[in-house]
Subunit: 656 residues, 2 copies
């Protein structure tokens, strides 16, 4: 889709957006405020704008009279831009507050596509399973070598393959497979985890099938399980699919799952249902790709420590009990069928190692999959969810910790919090004078609640606009019906009941804000504690890798305003997506990941923050917006000072 | 039992025998002839002797009148010696033929007891599975190491154990086992096959159980399966038992088994029944030893190539088809339960490698178990059965071959041949003048047939006494009813019908003798061909190792007379027993056997005799008693010359 330019007046701000984008979203992306209470649903009628020039499309609305429509008025939320356009926002204020309205435009992290070419260039494209087509010399009266010896000798002499081992199921196939096409065969080689280990011959097929070699990568998430079918010849993902982890019925989070696993038969149940989900996802991606099940030679899996232990039927009870030890860090390679995974008997399941009870295989997978383990640059890796995990380091050293962030970023502990789903307020701005909001919801429908990324934007905006102070308290002097105290708790009304789907006012109150501050404080102080323990500072960080679904939506500038992220140039922040899945895929594509993962895991020094003396001080200092020490956020500090001066000037001018 | 001295007159030959031995067997052992036709049954009454001095016991017989008994006459077969005795054999001849009667005494091979002390002294007592008792430091708030990491670190730091791997079933047990006795545990370590491989931790138990560590060794024979339960702490065999291989119902020999395996479902059936026998033997030795099934940590198995492939369910069809290739030489370590063996999931099954289709794991086990693989001395290893296998070499090189001996040594192809069972003629001598026989049967009952070791003695004796010539043809001029032609085939009557259990004359004829000559010729020429191919001679052989049940019974001197064994000093011949079982046991007791077996197997150069040009000449030269070239048997040559001179002298004297 081609881009078009949208210019907003009177602010005179321009932005490029995709043709077909709504005017309201274009304004939000540009940092231009338009009152809008219904999330883009078209019902509140507040987002009236005047199309001054250019081509737009959009349905008629009873909120705009035919006459006004004729004049060019439209609802910004229901009008899409079809070419370069100029939009005028009605000025209701006596003063020009456009400068005050101006905010940094939205900017999410750069998405890092894992570069297959880069991997190939670096000689790292060495799939964990490989095929070789061989034309063996058939035995005769002068040559009685056993079939397997014949094969192994050929691979040694013609393909420089040493230290080979042939599994019994393959030995059983060899006599007939070899003779099917006169000793012309394709063998599948599974590479060893250690370079000194043996290469396993896991499959033999008659003829040449080297163009068909596949693996499956899976992220075993607490909530969802996601799988990809990877073509090991091209390195490409040929199918992907996911589903809710069947364990969700037995508890939403890891702690309730562990408690369930402690009941008689509980562990067996949880293992069975997660494997059922794995098999369901597997069947889907096989169907989608039209690849036969027996063509899969490998499955790689990554999950957090609890998910990993449940997957492997290893009792997780000590994960939730002091001193919180997991059972194992490194797991051996396991036969997939031993876990109940519906793949052939020769398929190996590779499971990512764990660092500690709360820094699990998903994080190790992220470190490996993102390439952090081979990066020179000092990197901060953050996976933000209920438990945020942070890793700091580079190819030479790494420190990591789990931060008990609580569920605020997933909408937990927030009165109107919700998961990122249709109706969740995902974007927000506020008119600096009237304090009227501009709301965007997922799906452009009337709001139902607030999702994590929306919450960050709301709190950051309220703070930058001076509606709340650095402790998250509302300015009691502001005069608007949207700020009020309910049961002695101050709150801001994001949407009145008649504009919502829930027939109640949707608000954000000081307790919500406090919870968010605690969550972001836990993460920020986790990072600073780790850095301090290794004698470094945030300034030394050369790049930030964001992982997890959350990371792709979070607005970087606003995450820095609330002090969730340290203030760095936004281009230093890279989004790596589902890093668990990425790591799983990378360990199928390049055996060097598998060979190095044990060393990397051992190198990852885990800090239990609750037992790290400096942590509590760092945490307390972080319980402010953005932090007690504003000098850590110089850009924000400057902006707030300029805004304050500007506001004073406007007030003076307005009063004049 | 104490020994007593028996002196035979008029020969004046003395021998030490165990108190309680029969006079007949004492005479046989001393090489003294006493006529005896009924095998020691007491019915023919021919073995009358006079007890001149000393104490004997024995029942009365209607073959000895009360008067004669009073004079000291007894039946040698029914009279046991109870102290030093002097026995006179009635001389029926006009001439003194005692010198002619004299033969080399019976001498079987020295039995080699595998020296556990020797193994320990050489530092080779390194069981393939070992236990270690560990007192781990429990985790606390300052020490969150995962359980498995804690274990592996402890073993590395306190026990110098590196390259450890923990299997998933063990990981599953660890959390609860560790906490049962406050992190005091015993672990079972399974040593790697290659020294560079990983040591597997295959079991964890609470507390100290290091005094209980067991393995099972099994010989998977074509006919019988024999198992031993080995205490890996003391190195001793604590129970042993055997049974017929259940596959016997599907064919007696390997070829008929292979043919059965080619039928639909045949392979699966044969695998199932052999495992049933393995499990039956296992249950017996567990019951016998009162050791719990879960205390077994290892099973080692050895069998010939066909038995090994059937055990592992690897189709054996190409073993019996030109160019006779087995499927594999080396098999990976296999989970015992994957084969259906009723042992715990963590138990590994080690299967001996094969050299070729007819030199199998039983022979490799013999080479390893007998210590031949680490011997400086040039050794000839012979396992004599339907297929005789021979290995020549020492620790630096080995050549081997299977000789198609045919079943003569097991009684096959011999008119009255039978397996070594009750009633089988197992020993024989002949009166040089009357040509009357002296027969001993297994169980001292009337004869039913001839077993392999008896056949060798019969033919050797007939040859040495000049009854047959070096082509196995009877001297047509001898005047005795025992030599006759039936259907134009000359034969010697060993026992007339009235003295047998089968109501028929038991004879040995020229076809039988020809078959034996072919069988021994195949083996002897196999040995000489191997030696010639490696540029050596029989004179260079420093020791002969005899393996298999046959080896313990065969009379060495007579095996050399017929040319089955090369003529060497009898003390150079050592009997190693069931070498397959011995090798299986040794690979449980000393991991160095397992680590070296692959190298040894690869070093064993297999010769297909039928395709080795020099073989046919050697074979044809061997189709004589003992060989066309008498100079290869100098002791026998001298003896025969002396005997001929003596016979001539006696004849001259007798005629005088």
């Amino acid at each position: 889709m081609s881009n078009v330019q949208v210019t907003f007046l009177p602010n005179n701000v321009s932005i490029e957006v995709a043709r077909g984008e709504t005017v309201l979203r274009a304004a939000m992306a540009a940092g231009v405020h338009i009152n809008a209470s219904c999330g883009g649903d078209g019902t509140c009628g507040k987002c009236r704008v005047m199309v001054e020039a250019g081509s737009v499309e959009g349905e008629t609305s009873d909120r705009i009279s035919a006459e006004d429509r004729e004049k060019g008025y439209r609802l910004a939320c229901k009008t899409t831009v079809q070419g370069d356009v100029t939009i005028r926002i009605p000025v209701e204020s006596a003063v020009d507050i456009s400068a005050l309205q101006r905010q940094a435009p939205r900017r999410t992290a750069t998405v890092k596509q894992i570069g297959l070419e880069e991997i190939k260039e670096q000689g790292l494209f060495l799939p964990a399973v490989e095929k070789r087509y061989l034309e063996l010399t058939p035995p005769d009266t002068q040559d009685h070598l056993p079939d397997v010896t014949r094969l192994v000798n050929h691979l040694r002499l013609q393909h420089d393959e040493h230290g080979l081992e042939v599994s019994l199921p393959v030995i059983r196939q060899i006599p007939s497979v070899f003779r099917e096409q006169d000793f012309k065969v394709t063998v599948t080689l599974a590479r060893p985890v250690r370079s000194s280990g043996k290469t396993q011959i896991i499959r033999v097929e008659p003829g040449d099938t080297t163009d068909r070699n596949y693996a499956v990568a899976m992220d075993i998430g607490t909530t969802t399980i996601y799988g990809q079918l990877v073509d090991l010849v091209s390195g490409k993902v040929v199918a992907e699919n996911g589903d809710f982890n069947g364990q969700v019925s037995y508890g939403e989070d890891v702690i309730t799952r562990i408690m369930f696993a402690e009941k008689p038969g509980g562990l067996e149940t949880l293992q069975r249902v997660v494997i059922e989900t794995v098999n369901k996802v597997l069947t889907r991606i096989l169907k989608q790709s039209k690849i036969a099940r027996e063509e899969i030679s490998l499955i790689t899996l990554a999950g957090n420590t609890t998910m990993t232990q449940l997957l492997l039927k290893v009792e997780p009870r000590h994960i939730r009990r002091a001193p919180y030890v997991p059972t194992a860090s490194i797991y051996p390679t396991i036969r997939a069928t031993d876990l109940g995974i519906a793949l052939d008997d020769h398929v190996t399941a590779l499971v990512y190692p764990q660092v500690s009870s709360y820094v699990g295989g998903d994080i190790v997978a992220g470190v490996m999959g993102s390439g952090m383990y081979r990066s020179e640059a000092l990197t901060l890796f953050m996976d933000i969810g209920t438990n945020a995990e942070v890793v700091i380091g580079n190819k030479d050293w790494m420190a990591c910790a789990a931060c008990s962030a609580g569920p605020a970023f997933e909408g937990g502990g927030i009165q109107f919090g919700m998961r990122a789903a249709k109706g969740a307020i995902e974007d927000f701005s506020i008119d600096p004078e009237t304090l009227e909001p501009m709301l965007m919801t997922i799906g452009n429908v009337r709001p139902k609640g607030i999702c994590g990324s929306g919450l960050i934007i709301i709190v950051a905006t309220l703070f930058e606009m001076g509606v709340i102070d650095n402790q998250g308290k509302f300015d009691r002097d502001l005069n608007t019906p949207r700020i009020r105290a309910t049961d002695n708790i101050y709150e801001y009304v994001l949407a009145f009941a008649d504009q919502t789907q829930i027939d109640r006012d949707i608000t954000i109150n000081e307790i919500d804000i406090e919870n968010l501050i605690r969550a972001k404080g836990a993460i920020y102080s986790g990072c600073t504690t780790l850095l301090k323990e290794v004698g470094m500072q945030l300034d030394d960080v050369e790049q930030i890798l964001l992982a997890g679904g959350f990371g792709s939506y979070v607005d970087l500038e606003r995450a820095m305003i609330i002090g969730l992220l340290p203030e760095v140039a936004p281009e230093k922040v890279v989004y790596v997506g589902n890093s668990s899945l990425l790591g799983a895929r990378m360990s199928a594509l390049t055996n060097s990941v598998r060979q190095q993962v044990v060393g990397v895991t051992n190198m990852m020094t885990n800090f239990e923050l609750s037992e790290t003396p400096s942590y509590m001080d760092n945490y307390v200092a972080s319980l402010f917006l953005p932090h007690t020490d504003m000098d850590r956020f110089p850009r924000l500090k400057t902006r707030l000072e300029e805004r304050r001066a500007l506001a004073a000037k406007i007030r003076a001018h307005g009063n004049a």
